[in-house]
């Protein structure tokens, strides 16, 4: 596990349409990672909160009303102002093609529910410390493999 940065409080925006799960992820990230957690119940609200708060990382569900997770990721990656934001998909969609779609959309990690809370915290820490160059290299590699 990547050790947390002392003295730095990171903000994580979690977007999921299930309130019970939002409450759990908020509790888990606060207790285990010391993060400040903000939640949104749909993609549109998530987008609004992103530009209002500029969180350090986003954890996004896929199946949501209105703007789904993949659309939200593509919207964020398509805007230069948000293209470098660490993004993690947390979903119940377990098929290989869904995972590939998520990675090609530009997420840093594609996690399946149910996920261990420590694994989620580790994934967030890794995504935050991932550099832009490394992120771009991975996306290029995925695009080449997909082709």
């Amino acid at each position: 596990m990547v050790p947390p940065e002392p003295g730095i409080t990171r903000t994580v925006l979690v977007v999921d349409d299930n309130r019970r799960l939002l409450a759990f992820i908020g509790d888990a990230l606060t207790e285990l990672g010391g993060y400040t957690v903000v939640t949104a119940e749909d993609g549109i609200k998530g987008l609004e909160l992103y530009f209002a708060l500029r969180p350090d990382c986003m954890v996004i569900d896929v199946k949501m009303p209105g703007l789904d997770g993949f659309q939200l990721v593509r919207a964020l990656r398509g805007d230069p102002a948000s293209a470098s934001t660490p993004l993690i998909i947390l979903t119940a969609m377990a098929q290989g093609r869904d995972r590939l779609a998520g990675l090609l959309a530009g997420v840093d990690q594609y996690l399946l529910k149910p996920v261990d809370p420590m694994e989620l915290v580790t994934a967030i820490q890794q995504a935050i410390t991932l550099g832009d160059d490394e992120r771009r290299r991975r996306l290029r590699q995925l695009a080449d493999e997909g082709a």
Binding site: D17, N18, R20, L21, A23, F24, I25, D27, A28, E31, L32, E41, D42, K63, M64, P65, A92, M93, A94, L112, K113, P114, V115, D116, P117, M118
Partner: protein, 524 residues
Amino acid sequence: MLRMQRVLRVLRRSLREQWSHEAVRVRGAERGGPLGYARSIFTAPFRVDPAQIATLSGPQRELRRRAALLRLILSCLLGISAFVLLPAALLGQAAAASLVRLGLVIGLALACLLLNYWRRTTLAGLLLIFGTLSIMVHFLVTNPGGIDLQVVLTYALLAVLILISGLVAPGWATWLTALLVVVTTLAGIFARPFAPPLAHAIADPQQLRFAVAGPLVTLELFVAVLGWVSARSAGAAMAAAAQAFERERELASLKDQFITNVNHELRTPTMALNGYVKLLKLRHEQMKPERRAAIIEQAALAGDDLVSLLSSILDTQRLDQSAQALLHEAVDVRTTLEAAVRLVDPRAGGLAEDQSVERDLRMHVPAGLVVWAEPVRLRQVLTNLLSNAVKYSEPGTPVEVSAQVLEAPLELSRRRRNGAHAQPRMVEITVRDYGLGIPPEQAKLLFERFVRLPRDLASTVIGNGLGLHLCKSLVEAMGGHIWVESAGVPGEGATFHFTLPVAPLDTQPLLEATSEHLPVVVAP
């Protein structure tokens, strides 16, 4: 010489490819080549591929069946004529006219095979039937001798032609063939003289004509019916196979939809429950007691969600098995409705847990209206319908519940249009919301197991596609019928109707109907 050899080589290769292509094209061939093709001719009419016929319409299925049978019959006719009858006629030094007729039959069979290959099946069948009929009638008419055994057997053979027309020609052609054959038989038997040896031996020729014509015509008519019935039976069997395949495909799709839906629904509460337990395991010593208590409470709620989902899934299975075991009694509708209202989950209306919104519950239910049902199951049906009304409509919009005894013929005929069995003295209960409504073409799907409308799958409304199926199973187990009426217009909502038998007269007091508007505060 070399050129000739090259041509022969090319011809042999193209024939081999043609046979291979044909063997693959004709369903049932296991390997290519002439043997495979020959085998496929004899097996194709008896192989039914439900996956393939399900994609065809009724007339297309019928055409395919006739094409396969025609190919088999023509191949047999060609084979017998060319390899048995023709050599026999040549060796027996048959008359030129017989050889010409045989040649015509062989030519006719070849022409029909080609037409069938070019997918002109109906034309090929008609040409075979009426062409063969013409040849045989020509023989009967031009036969110089009178009626003898050969002539009578030829008339009997015409019955086989009727049977073949039943198998390979359209229905009208079968009856036309039968009519022509009967007319030909009667004309031949009654208009022609008997052959000299027979003419001298019989005392009453007229009586013999009737004695011969009677069985012949009976045979021909019977065979016409047989041919028509067998063709219709084969068509019905194929239609049933196609329907069964379609139903199986629908069920497989429903099953996949359910698995996807339940997979998604189960993972979320599982993650919350499992995650809270692991969180406690990792951090319970560092947590303050009140924080620990809050985490345990959240874990319990996540566990309740999981149990509720699993119960819904198991309930439908249990109910299907125990539908006959319900214990009916007289149940007051109004009392059960009020109990159901208390069980409706306010959070299903998309409200935050700390909010409360008044919804107008309009009840038009006579006091003392009693149905013959199982009280817990009736409450379950009402709870499901009210919960759906709340879930699929905006907070603040009213929900209307009404009940009435059905006795007028107009009401009964309306119920009959929706598939309910006409029974006297039924109570109809309706639950109406003013929400999103249901597209009319999707209304019947709602009562299928595990089905949710595509619009609802993409929404925030939680569901597993089992509630309405459960309602249907419960209502039908209690002797009623359930259906929905909706124009599919958002704001007009939907009205769910279900009927139940009125309780026996000695169990229900007669009271006047009352209408009430009750403000119901939907709050945790």
